[in-house]
Symmetry: C2
């Protein structure tokens, strides 16, 4: 078969970008690509911010500093955007799509911000926009939602989609470390940034949940805020309580149908039964658990980050785009369902775990229990631990409306006998089988 050369440009040469260049220039790998009938891929340029920096593995004649010019090249077939951030990445991508150049990106923040508009732009100009690496690193979950599960009615998607927080929570579980120590270790190992807030405050996971939801349900990607709670208030005592009760604590991103036309999207810590498949996702691994009406539960697990796994996901997208290019097609963008409405997290019900540091004095349990009762939150079990300054009450509630639990926490904080209130953690039921 005599197929035309597909010309690829890359913006960004960090871990993922340089791994991708290696994969593209690897001669044994290239043979495999040809095998897959995509035709030869030619790397025409790699745009970097600092052209003076030496980069091993990237031929000097491919390095350029003018990313905008690369995006606007006449002879480009596929632009790979790995710079990250909203601007100027959006500008480069729009430039390429407007010229009918297909785009592959790993930019979850940008996709969550304006993915629907970009997908429409791609479609209008006969180009592809693929972003497999934006969720779950090397796990081919977006492709599965796009193709294998196309036509399936999905009811719920639950994901452990942030490796940094999963590493920290796994450490807290396996070593009984507290949050600060586990975070410091994650930073020392390069799993967490010096400023970890994008991870531990769940901004990263929230963007990924929006992307999963758009493919699973057809919700729009236009920069909406979704309910988001990180792991900074999870304590080692909570992890230990969960373990004794047969649960593990994970930061869970959830997108699910509520009634006929409601969709709830949220990120929060959750207690998961220890025999649930998601409970076995350790360290920096990621996993996405999908509940479909026909296919039953399905789970994808793999490395959620790392230059090489993520670069293989990007390469998969490049190959798909190249195949489409050769056959003169482009993929239909995910369909948007405008009849859907967003359900506030406060409207949903769940069982909750809650731990409260109290002053060890007579009557404190009565006043705390009174606050639960005044909001109609029914207590399933209570445990008191520690004495004096260290006294703590741990509660498991029956099914309760989230807004009622939030109101309970608000009123508890006003009690003189309450010192501080820990994480408010939803308890997830089974569903592994």
């Amino acid at each position: 078969m005599n197929t035309p050369v597909i010309r690829v440009g890359i913006i960004g040469a960090g871990f993922v970008g340089s791994s991708l260049v290696e994969l593209l220039l690897d001669p044994t790998r290239h043979a495999a690509l040809l095998d897959a009938a995509t035709g030869p891929l030619e790397l025409v340029g790699v745009a970097v911010r600092d052209g003076s920096k030496l980069r091993s593995g990237i031929p000097a004649d491919l390095l350029i500093t003018d990313a905008a010019a690369l995006a606007a090249r006449d002879d480009l077939d596929i632009l790979v955007e790995l710079a990250g951030g909203i601007e100027p990445a959006r500008c480069y991508i729009e430039t390429a799509l407007r010229r009918g150049v297909s785009v592959v990106t790993a930019n979850k923040a940008l996709m969550a911000e304006c993915g629907t508009a970009l997908a429409q732009l791609a479609h209008d100009h006969g180009a592809d926009l693929f972003y497999e690496a934006a969720v779950g690193g090397g796990i081919p979950i977006l492709r599965a939602l796009r193709s294998s599960l196309a036509g399936e009615r999905i009811n719920r998607v639950m994901g452990i989609v942030n490796g940094t927080t999963n590493y920290i929570l796994s450490k807290m579980t396996s070593d009984a470390s507290d949050y600060g120590d586990a975070l410091a270790e994650a930073q020392a190992l390069g799993y967490a940034e010096a400023d970890p807030s994008a991870d531990v405050e769940a901004y990263d996971a929230a963007a990924k949940v929006q992307i999963l939801s758009s493919l699973a349900f057809g919700t729009e990607l236009r920069g909406e805020e979704i309910s988001r709670e990180g792991i900074t208030r999870v304590r080692s005592i909570d992890v230990e309580f969960a373990r004794r009760a047969g649960y593990v604590i994970k930061l869970l991103g959830v997108a699910e149908r509520v009634g006929e036309s409601g969709i709830s999207r949220r990120v929060h810590p959750a207690m998961i039964p220890e025999d649930h498949p998601l409970a076995s996702v350790h360290g920096a691994m990621n996993a996405v658990f999908v509940e479909g009406a026909k296919s039953g539960p399905l789970m994808w697990l793999g490395q959620g980050a790392g230059g090489v796994p993520t670069a293989t996901a990007v390469l998969g997208d490049v190959l798909d785009a190249a195949r489409n290019r050769v056959s003169g097609r482009h993929d239909v963008p995910f369909s948007v369902d405008t009849t859907l409405h967003s359900v506030p997290a406060g409207d949903l019900s769940s069982a909750f775990y809650l731990s409260i540091d109290v002053l060890d004095q007579p009557g404190v349990l009565a006043s705390v229990a009174g606050v639960f009762g005044s909001h109609g939150v029914s207590i399933q079990s209570m445990e008191q631990s520690g004495v004096a300054d260290e006294a703590r009450l741990s509660f498991l509630t029956h099914l309760a409306k989230t807004s009622d639990v939030e109101a309970t926490v608000g009123d508890l904080a006003k009690l003189d006998s309450v010192d501080s209130i820990g994480a408010c953690i939803r308890v997830i039921d089974g569903g592994g089988e």
Copy 2:
């Protein structure tokens, strides 16, 4: 977009076939299919063995009894073969492929028997041959190996690919049932056949391992025998020993590279660390764990059987074949690597668990240990349990060559002091992260 009608015929109307008919005739689902730009699908006939049997959900005018005629129809685009068995299924499929009709099948036995030849026949006549449902029911694992992981160098594939045996082993683990009771319960629930040998003797899993290996490594599908050991010799005492040591026992199908050009394919019970993702695969669920050089470990989990999940996998293949039909293409068949050679299971090394019923008399441990020593199998730990008639020795070995362990078992059986020898179970190392 004005796309031609794609005409589909189905052979077989069991659980999977009738679920597929429902999916194809469901009007809301049909809209989703059109959305996916495949064009309209028209069901032209469903061939059944017994035409007099009433079948709910299948319009009477679609039912026919002449499967051969359906396979040879001039106006067919896609033939779905769900009859199972080698003949006459092979004959129907060859008839269709020779006429350029694409084929979708769930027939693992037939694919293991002659998949390479059938794939070549499809390619020669410009048709597709898809068989996603042959492995892992509703889990889109074959598509992932074909597309997402194309070009990746895979080192090992390990799967829990038989739901019946996983149900039995899960029951033995959760309820401490013995093998016979767990099997009887599986039969009562319809998870196991009256004659369970295809499942419990691992014929079913062996066929699936061959299919996984062909896609992961390029080994041929031409009816080779591979090393196969079922679960009939696993006892509740083994399951309990594993639990105390931090393991669970699973029936594992393995295909892996050995050195530069060797491939080992085998099915056997194995002790898996309880924190390994495969250990969390309960009941009738299936999972496939793939270790790639670049992508790192990846796992797919889902329902391995059941009419509706399997039918969704078949439908996914039908949609892929339809899309190719509309665009006048067909997929390139998996490439065969003729430089590979099969490595006998006996040549590989592993740690082993072995339990031996012995006569409780002086000197028995010395003579048993002597047999291990004579074959160079080094003992890592030993545990004696029971007394008199019930005395049992449980051993964990260090890394040992499988053929040496087999020779040890052979010689142990000759000892007067040995009553019987239980399952010989490989111990798998970690790898979840």
